[in-house]
């Protein structure tokens, strides 16, 4: 649906006026002898007023002057002379001018208003149509396709939509439904339009001689893509451009709404799958732990009943230590599952590292009894921001790991100090150390040293790394001078509070 052309071109109006004047003059000459020369003036007046309905002010003035002069020269006495002797005729001439000019002005004005109204209506119905078309689109692709089709219809141009590619470096690529592809040499211009959010190309102030007109699509300040138009003939007229400038925000509005809708759906889906995952994990956790809880509780009851023989006492101890070990494996598996599914939300609070180390050593004492423990904790160590439960499991994993992989009676050293704005927590042993080629992979899930003793799940160090990373820290492993391995945890140090000194 093309827009109504404004009106007949000015030059044609003058020619039309001149031809009409000649025809009417010929008719006037024929009827003059019946009506008299004064009525002829009224015929001219009638003709000019009718003409004013169709032509502009300039041609009307032209027609007025032409008819008045000719009437004066030819019809009004004395004939073939410009002087008018009769006062009545003079009056007639002046009135004639006044009436034609007023009528000409009024009708031109009226027509201009009607035209503007018509254009406005076309403008808004075009926008309405666009909105309706786009609102029916079910997804992003359909919005793109319909936008291309609507722009093509209204502006009689080939339309292309340039969108950034999914993969880096996110170069602009024509959308599949585009009706043309801009030439390679115009792509830098399109990219510039995309980045600077300013139109360029044919008909704009930049790159006027380009083949296409490039217009940015931008929602909430974030660029979405570029609309590229290629015209068969001229570029956009000012009116078309005004309409086009109204088209763009409509399209971006719909795109934005669709994006929000899709993001919301996606979130819902994520939340649902996360909820399912959590429910499953919780019920598995419950099913695994309840029997272990029953075993632990029952054996501890047995042992404290005080009626067991030494052999029974020893057997109970075996059951107990087996269930402690089983519980740790379950704990590790569940932790690894939580880490893998991204469901671990650490609860970060300020903690005292020394406190953390002592609680942990107390908890694992049964499993590390064969190794002397040495702790070196720097005084006035800054607090760390961490999740105590995760930290406890991390340090316990490292200490138990060291106890498992080193010969009995070799010492395990746990130390903590501050360095470069970090708190460094180290667990060092005097065992065989880690083969140098394994150091990088030792924190990988299910990685086990090739010559490792049986036992261990390959989860421990992966959990250490995962737990520390979700708390914003990092881990490293190295071999010590003099033999043995050292595992280090780095966590950001916090500022110590300034306390006022008061006494009792």
């Amino acid at each position: 649906m093309p827009l109504t052309p404004t009106h007949i071109p000015r030059g044609k109006q003058y020619i039309f006026t001149a031809v009409a004047f000649l025809l009417i003059t010929v008719v006037n000459m024929l009827i003059e002898k019946w009506l008299g020369y004064q009525a002829i003036a009224l015929v001219y007046l009638l003709a000019v007023v009718v003409a004013a309905l169709f032509i502009d002010r300039g041609p009307i003035i032209f027609a007025t002057v032409l008819t008045a002069v000719w009437w004066n020269f030819y019809f009004a006495p004395p004939r073939f002379a410009f002087n008018i002797t009769d006062g009545y005729d003079r009056m007639m001439l002046v009135t004639y001018f006044a009436v034609t000019l007023t009528v000409g002005h009024l009708t031109t004005h009226l027509r201009a208003r009607r035209l503007a109204e018509q254009q406005r209506e076309e403008h808004s119905s075009a926008l309405y149509r666009l909105t309706r078309e786009l609102a029916q689109a079910a997804d992003m692709d359909e919005i793109f396709c319909r936008s291309i089709e609507e722009i093509r219809k209204f502006f009689r141009a080939d339309v292309a939509l340039l969108l950034p590619a999914q993969q880096p470096p996110h170069a602009l690529m024509p959308y599949t439904a585009s009706l043309w592809s801009p030439k390679e040499k115009e792509m830098p211009m399109a990219t510039k339009v995309f980045e600077q959010n300013e139109p360029a190309g044919r008909g704009t102030k930049d790159f006027t001689d380009a083949e296409g007109l490039y217009w940015p699509l931008c929602a909430d300040g974030a660029p979405i893509g570029v609309v590229a138009l290629r015209f068969k003939r001229a570029a956009l007229t000012p009116r078309q451009q005004a309409l086009f400038e109204d088209f763009i925000p409509q399209i971006t509005l719909i795109l934005q709404r669709q994006r929000l809708r899709e993001a919301e759906l996606n979130n819902k889906f994520l939340a649902e799958s996360e909820r399912l995952g959590r429910t499953l994990l919780n019920s598995v956790s419950h099913e695994l732990r309840t029997p272990v809880a029953a075993i632990t509780s029952a054996t501890s009851s047995l042992r404290s009943s005080g009626t067991l023989s030494t052999a029974q006492q020893n057997l109970t101890t075996e059951i107990e230590s087996a269930s402690i070990r089983l519980n740790r494996v379950i704990q590790s598996l569940l932790s690894a599952a939580r880490l893998k599914s991204g469901q671990l939300r650490p609860k970060l609070e300020l903690y005292d590292v020394s406190d953390l180390i002592h609680v942990t050593l107390g908890n694992v004492s049964a499993m590390t009894a064969s190794h002397p423990m040495q702790t070196h904790i720097e005084t006035d160590l800054p607090l760390i921001k961490a999740d105590f439960v995760l930290m406890e499991q991390t340090v316990a994993n490292l200490v138990v790991n060291a106890a498992t992989h080193t010969p009995p009676e070799t010492p395990i050293e746990i130390s903590a100090h501050a360095a470069n704005g970090e708190v460094v927590l180290e667990v060092a042993d005097r065992g065989p150390g880690v083969p140098p080629d394994q150091l990088d992979r030792i924190f990988d899930l299910f990685h086990r040293a090739p010559d490792a003793k049986p036992g261990g799940t390959g989860l421990g160090l992966a959990i250490v790394k995962g737990f520390i990373e979700v708390q914003g820290g990092r881990v490293s492993a190295a071999n010590r001078p003099g033999g043995g391995a050292v595992f280090s945890i780095y966590l950001p140090a916090t500022e110590m509070p300034v306390l006022s000194e008061e006494t009792l």
């Binding site: 406190d355 306390l499 006494t503």
Partner: protein
């Protein structure tokens, strides 16, 4: 053993195995046991008969354990001990802040559960601690005279350190959450000052523990708070 003087414990847990186990353990240690498998049933049983304590599992099929706890606390102050899973720190804290007396983490040692239960019953029978002095090994705290001594030596303490110590003594043997300690010692507007608490706890241990690096007196409850050990 079902005379009126034996203390009665209401066990609320939906796992039959844990129910049986707790029944055996508690009965062999001189308690009468009533079992509720769900939250609603627990509320009914608690209202029908007088019990001396409740052992409440937080994972129940109908009501949440926290909900049961809150409804019980609307009308009774009897000791309530929570059973929770590992890494359930958030719910432990919530339960303690809602009025639970203590918690035991599954898998639990039955000795530990019995000790907690005994301590809670003792505190409940005694009422709020108002003894003028607290003695722990060499350490003596004279609350009336506001004097702290270790052996023969007087320990100098700041006002805040003393306020913290007194709070612990008033609740000896009971877990205090970080939240509760901060509110009592620093006031309601200092809930976020966790750093203060850490620093003052380290100072208290420095001054009062025999070996500050292996505390026997001020015990850390991982991720939850602190507890003053009731017996040396």
């Amino acid at each position: 053993m079902s005379d009126i003087t034996t203390p009665s414990v209401l066990v609320v847990d939906d796992e039959p195995q844990i129910q049986r186990l707790l029944t055996i353990t508690l009965e062999s240690n001189g308690y009468r046991v009533a079992i509720a498998g769900a939250g609603q049933q627990a509320l009914v049983l608690a209202a029908q008969h007088r019990h001396d304590a409740v052992v409440l599992d937080l994972g129940l099929p109908d009501l949440s354990g926290i909900e049961v706890l809150k409804r019980l606390r609307e009308w009774t102050q009897m000791p309530i001990i929570i059973l929770t899973v590992q890494d359930g720190e958030a719910e432990k804290i919530e339960a303690l802040d809602c009025g639970a007396d203590d918690y035991v983490t599954k898998p639990f040692n039955s000795g530990e559960l019995l000790a907690r239960l005994r301590a809670a019953l003792r505190r409940a029978n005694k009422g709020p601690a108002d003894e003028p002095a607290f003695v722990f090994g060499e350490l003596t705290v004279d609350l009336a005279a506001r004097r702290v001594t270790r052996g023969t030596q007087t320990v100098k303490m700041t006002a805040t350190e003393y306020a913290l110590l007194r709070l612990f003594i008033q609740h000896a043997g009971k877990v205090l959450t970080h939240h509760q300690i901060l509110r009592e010692v620093w006031g309601p507007n200092h809930q976020e000052k966790m750093a203060y608490l850490r620093v003052y706890m380290a100072r208290l241990r420095d001054k009062l523990e025999v070996d500050p690096s292996a505390p026997k007196l001020f015990l850390t409850e991982p991720g939850v708070g602190y507890r003053l050990s009731a017996s040396p």
